[in-house]
C-alpha cells in the first residue's frame, strides 16, 4: 500500500509519523488505547477514593505524606513531558541527533522520578505503612504503583526507541513509534497530575 510512496526517493516527508497508513493506524490505535488506559486509571482512582479513609490500624495520609518530596517528583515528571515535546519538534526539523538527546533527557528525568518514588515507598513501609496494612494502603500502593509501573515501562520503551534511532535512523517506520511513545509519556504525566491532586493534596487536606 502506501508504505513505499515516500522513502523511495530518500526524502522524508514533513510529518513522517503520518506519512503511511500503517503510521496513521498506529497513532489512531494508540489514542484509543489511551482511552482504555483512562478507564483503567479511572477505576483505580474510584477504588482509592472509596477506600482512602479506611485506614484500619494503620497511618493516615496526613501522617504519611511529605509534600516537598512529591513536589520535586512532580517537577521532574512535568519537565520530562516538555523535553519529549522538544524531541518531537526536533523530529519535524529532522534533526536526529537533537531528537535523541531530548529523548535521552526525558528518560533520565523519568528515571529520577522513579527513584524518588521507590525511596518514598521504602520510607512508608518503614513507617509501618505496608501494602497489607489497610484498605487505604492497598489502594494507595496499587494506584501509585500502577502509575510507577507505567513510568518504568515508558523508560524501557523510549530507551529501546533511541537505540533503534541510532541503528535505523529516522524513517516512516520509526517516526510513528516515537510519536506514539511521546503520546504515552504525556498521558502518564496527566495521570500524575491527577494523582498529585487526588492522592497527595487531598490526602494532606484530609
Amino acid at each position: 500500500m502506501s508504505s513505499h510512496d515516500h522513502h523511495a526517493n530518500g526524502v522524508l516527508p514533513h510529518d513522517p509519523e503520518k506519512a503511511t497508513l500503517e503510521g496513521r493506524n498506529k497513532i489512531l490505535g494508540f489514542w484509543l488505547f489511551l482511552g482504555g488506559e483512562t478507564v483503567l486509571f479511572g477505576t483505580l482512582f474510584s477504588a482509592f477514593l472509596a477506600l482512602r479513609h479506611n485506614v484500619a490500624d494503620g497511618k493516615t495520609a496526613q501522617q504519611l505524606f511529605e509534600l516537598p518530596l512529591i513536589a520535586l517528583a512532580t517537577f521532574l515528571l512535568l519537565t520530562s513531558s516538555m523535553t519529549s515535546v522538544l524531541a518531537i519538534q526536533a523530529m519535524h526539523r529532522q534533526k536526529v541527533k537533537e531528537m535523541a538527546i531530548w529523548l535521552g533527557i526525558t528518560v533520565l528525568f523519568g528515571a529520577c522520578f522513579l527513584g524518588l518514588e521507590i525511596y518514598e515507598f521504602y520510607h512508608y513501609v518503614h513507617e509501618g505503612h505496608k501494602f497489607s496494612t489497610s484498605a487505604f494502603s492497598t489502594s494507595f500502593y496499587s494506584l501509585v504503583g500502577f502509575h510507577g509501573a507505567h513510568v518504568a515501562f515508558g523508560i524501557c520503551w523510549i530507551t529501546l526507541l533511541i537505540a533503534q534511532l541510532f541503528r535505523k535512523g529516522l524513517t516512516v517506520v520509526t517516526a510513528p513509534k516515537i510519536y506514539v511513545a511521546s503520546l504515552y509519556w504525556h498521558f502518564i504525566d496527566v495521570v500524575w497530575v491527577f494523582i498529585f491532586t487526588v492522592v497527595y493534596l487531598m490526602g494532606k487536606v484530609g
Binding site: N25, G29, L40, T133
Partner: protein
C-alpha cells in the same frame, strides 16, 4: 504450522470459531451436568462442591470463552470484507488477540485437571471469592486466566475500531456501512471502555488473594460492594458487547432473505449507538438489594427501562423489513426469525427486573436465570447460529446442509424454550438461583424435569450441527461468490472463500448495500477504484503464539510461587519466581524481537492475482 503463524484475519476468524466452538462444547457439557443434577429432587449426580464449580465454570466459559470468541470469529471473517478492506489494521496484533484468548481460556480450564476449580460464581463476589472462602488456587485460575484472555479481547477491540475508521474502501461512508459492521464498531467501542475495568477488577482480586491486599477485606477497611461496582461497570456493558453483534447479524440475514433493504437503516444505527451508550449507565441494576438507597435505585431503574426504547425500534425495523418482502426460509433465516420473539420475551422480563421493588422479589431466583438465558441464548446464541449458517460458505467455500440446518434449528429452538420458559415459574415459586438441590414436595419437580429434558434437546441440536459441519467440510468446495444469490453487501462480491488479499482491486462503493446496488444497475461485479497491481501483505509470524505462551507460563509461575511442593527442585523453581520470570522473558523477548526486526512483508504479484480470477496473464 501455517495455523500457528497466520496473521490473515480470515484464518484467525476460523481459529476463533474452532476454539470458541470447543469451549462452547465444554460449557455445554457443564450445563448438562448441572441440569442432570437438578432434574429431580435430592439427586446426587455431583457433589455440592462440584456443582458450585460447574456453575462457575459454565457461566465463565460460556461468556468469555465461547460467546465472545465466536463473535470475534465472525467479526474477523466478515468485517474487513464488508468495508472493502484488504486487511485489518494490525494483522500481527490480531494474532496476539487470538492466542492470548486461547491460552487464557486454557489456563482457566487447567483448573479442572489440577482439581482446584473456581467455585465462587462467574460474578466472583467477595468475600466468597477471597482467600477465606475460596482457598487454594481456585479463584486464581479465574483471575489470571481471564486476565490473559482479556488482553486479547481488548486489543481485538482496538484493532476493529481502527480498521473500521481508517480502512474503508472509497465511497464507504459511515452511513453506508452494513449493519453488522456498525454493530462490530459499537461493540468494539464498548470493549475498549469496559474491559480495562475488568482488568483492574481482576488485578485487585489477585492482590487481595496473593499479596494479602485489603480492597475487599472488611476487617481492614475494604468492602465487597466495591467489587460489585467494579464487576458490573464491566459486566453490564459486557452483555451489550454480546448482544449487539447478534443484532447486526439479524439485520443482515433478515434483509438478505427478504430481498429488501433494511427498514429504517439510520434509526438502526442511532439505536445501536444509543444502546451502547446506555449500556454504561445502568450497571447498578444488578445491585438493587445491596442498599444503595431509594434515589440511586430509582435512577438506575429508569435508566435501565430506557434501553427498551432503542431496542424496540430495532424489533419493529426487523419486522417492517420482512413486511412485504420475498422471504426465504433458509436455516440462517429461521434462526434470525426465531430470534425476534425469543429476544422480545427476554426483553420483557428484563424490564420487569428493572423495577427495583419487584427485583427484591426476583433477585437471585431462577427467574433471573430464565431472563438472562432468554437474552444470551435466545438472543446471542440464536444470532450466532444464524450468522454461522449465513457466512459459512464465505468462510469455507462450501455451504452447510440446509436440511440438517433446519433440523438443528427446530431441536435447539424447542429445546431452548422448554428449558428456560419454565424457569420463570420456578423462580416465581421461590426456587433460588445457584442451589445445588431441592426437597421433594415444593412443587418444583415437574418443571425441573421439563427444563432438563429441554437442555438435552439443545444438546441434540448441537450434535446435529456438528454432524452438519463434518458433512459440509467433506463436500467439494464449490460455493459461488454470491452463494445466496441475494447477497447485498461487499463480502458477496468476491469469491468464496475470499482470496488471501480479499479484493483483487479495491471496490468503489456507490451506495448503501453496495453490491446489491451494482447488481441492480446490471453489473456482475463491483466497479474497481484502482488498477490491478501488486498487493502488499504482512508476513506470518510465530511471535504472537510465543508471547501468549509466555503469559501462560508466567501466570502459573505467579500462582504457585508461594506453594509447598513435595519436590525440592520444583519448590525452588516456583518459589524463586524462576518459572514466572521465564514466562515473562518469553513474552518480553518476543516483543523485543518484534520491535527490532521490522516486518517488511511481501507482495502478491499481478499475474498471480489474475490467475486467481481466471484471466490468462
Amino acid at each position: 504450522m501455517d495455523w500457528l503463524t497466520t496473521v490473515d484475519h480470515k484464518k484467525i476468524g476460523i481459529l476463533y470459531l474452532i476454539a470458541g466452538g470447543f469451549f462452547f462444547l465444554i460449557g455445554g457439557l457443564e450445563a448438562l451436568l448441572i441440569r442432570w443434577q437438578l432434574m429431580g429432587p435430592e439427586k446426587d449426580v455431583v457433589s455440592a462442591e462440584t456443582f458450585n464449580s460447574l456453575l462457575t465454570m459454565h457461566g465463565t466459559t460460556m461468556i468469555f470463552l465461547a460467546a465472545m470468541p465466536v463473535i470475534f470469529a465472525l467479526m474477523n471473517a466478515i468485517v474487513p470484507l464488508q468495508i472493502g478492506a484488504r486487511d485489518v489494521a494490525y494483522p500481527f496484533v490480531n494474532a496476539i488477540g487470538f492466542w492470548t484468548f486461547f491460552f487464557g481460556g486454557l489456563l482457566l480450564n487447567v483448573a479442572w485437571i489440577v482439581g482446584d476449580v473456581p467455585a465462587a460464581g462467574w460474578t466472583a463476589y467477595f468475600p466468597l471469592a477471597g482467600p477465606d472462602f475460596s482457598g487454594g488456587k481456585s479463584m486464581d485460575f479465574y483471575a489470571i486466566g481471564l486476565q490473559i484472555a482479556g488482553i486479547g479481547t481488548l486489543v481485538g477491540g482496538i484493532n476493529f475500531l481502527v480498521t473500521i475508521i481508517n480502512m474503508r474502501a472509497p465511497g464507504m461512508s459511515f452511513m453506508r456501512m452494513p449493519m453488522f459492521t456498525w454493530s462490530a464498531f459499537i461493540t468494539s467501542a464498548l470493549i475498549l471502555f469496559a474491559f480495562p475495568a475488568l482488568a483492574v477488577g481482576l488485578v485487585t482480586m489477585s492482590f487481595d488473594r496473593m499479596f494479602s491486599g485489603n480492597f475487599f477485606v472488611a476487617a481492614n477497611g475494604g468492602t465487597g460492594v466495591l467489587w460489585e461496582h467494579i464487576f458490573w461497570i464491566f459486566g453490564h456493558p459486557e452483555v451489550y458487547i454480546l448482544i449487539l453483534p447478534a443484532f447486526g447479524i439479524i439485520s443482515e440475514v433478515i434483509s438478505t432473505f427478504s430481498r429488501k433493504r433494511l427498514f429504517g437503516y439510520s434509526s438502526m444505527v442511532f439505536a445501536t449507538a444509543l444502546i451502547g451508550f446506555l449500556g454504561f449507565m445502568v450497571w447498578a441494576h444488578h445491585m438493587f438489594t445491596t442498599g444503595l438507597g431509594p434515589v440511586a435505585n430509582s435512577l438506575f431503574s429508569i435508566a435501565t427501562m430506557l434501553i427498551a426504547v432503542p431496542t424496540g425500534i430495532k424489533i419493529f425495523n426487523w419486522i417492517f423489513t420482512m413486511w412485504g418482502g420475498q422471504i426465504r426460509f433458509t436455516a440462517a433465516n429461521l434462526f434470525a426469525i426465531g430470534f425476534i420473539p425469543t429476544f422480545v420475551m427476554g426483553g420483557v422480563t428484563g424490564v420487569m427486573l428493572a423495577a427495583a421493588p419487584a427485583d427484591f422479589q426476583y433477585h437471585d431466583s431462577y427467574f433471573v436465570v430464565a431472563h438472562f438465558h432468554y437474552v444470551i441464548v435466545g438472543g446471542l446464541v440464536l444470532g450466532l447460529f444464524s450468522g454461522v449458517h449465513y457466512w459459512w460458505p464465505k468462510m469455507f467455500g462450501v455451504g452447510l446442509n440446509e436440511m440438517l440446518g433446519k433440523l438443528t434449528f427446530w431441536t435447539f429452538f424447542i429445546g431452548f424454550h422448554l428449558t428456560f420458559f419454565v424457569q420463570h415459574f420456578l423462580g416465581l415459586m421461590g426456587m433460588p438461583r445457584r442451589v445445588f438441590t431441592y426437597l421433594e414436595g415444593l412443587g418444583w419437580d415437574t418443571l425441573n424435569l421439563v427444563s432438563s429434558i429441554g437442555a438435552f434437546a439443545m444438546g441434540v441440536g448441537t450434535i446435529i450441527f456438528i454432524i452438519n459441519i463434518v458433512y459440509s467440510l467433506s463436500q467439494p468446495r464449490t460455493a459461488k461468490g454470491d452463494h445466496w444469490e441475494d447477497g447485498r453487501t461487499l463480502e458477496w462480491s468476491i469469491p468464496s472463500p475470499a482470496p488471501e488479499y480479499n479484493f483483487a482491486q479495491t471496490p468503489l462503493v456507490r451506495g448503501y448495500d453496495a453490491f446489491w446496488k451494482e447488481k441492480m444497475a446490471g453489473n456482475a461485479e463491483m466497479t474497481p477504484a484502482e488498477p490491478i497491481g501488486p498487493i502488499h501483505m504482512p508476513s506470518p509470524s510465530i511471535l504472537p503464539f510465543f508471547m501468549s505462551l509466555g503469559l501462560f507460563i508466567a501466570g502459573f509461575g505467579f500462582m504457585y510461587a508461594e506453594n509447598e511442593f513435595m519436590n525440592a527442585a520444583l519448590a525452588n523453581l516456583f518459589s524463586s519466581y524462576v518459572v514466572a520470570g521465564v514466562g515473562l522473558l518469553i513474552t518480553f523477548g518476543s516483543m523485543f524481537l518484534r520491535s527490532v526486526y521490522d516486518d517488511a512483508g511481501f507482495h502478491i504479484e499481478e499475474d498471480e492475482i489474475n490467475k486467481d480470477r481466471g484471466i490468462k496473464a
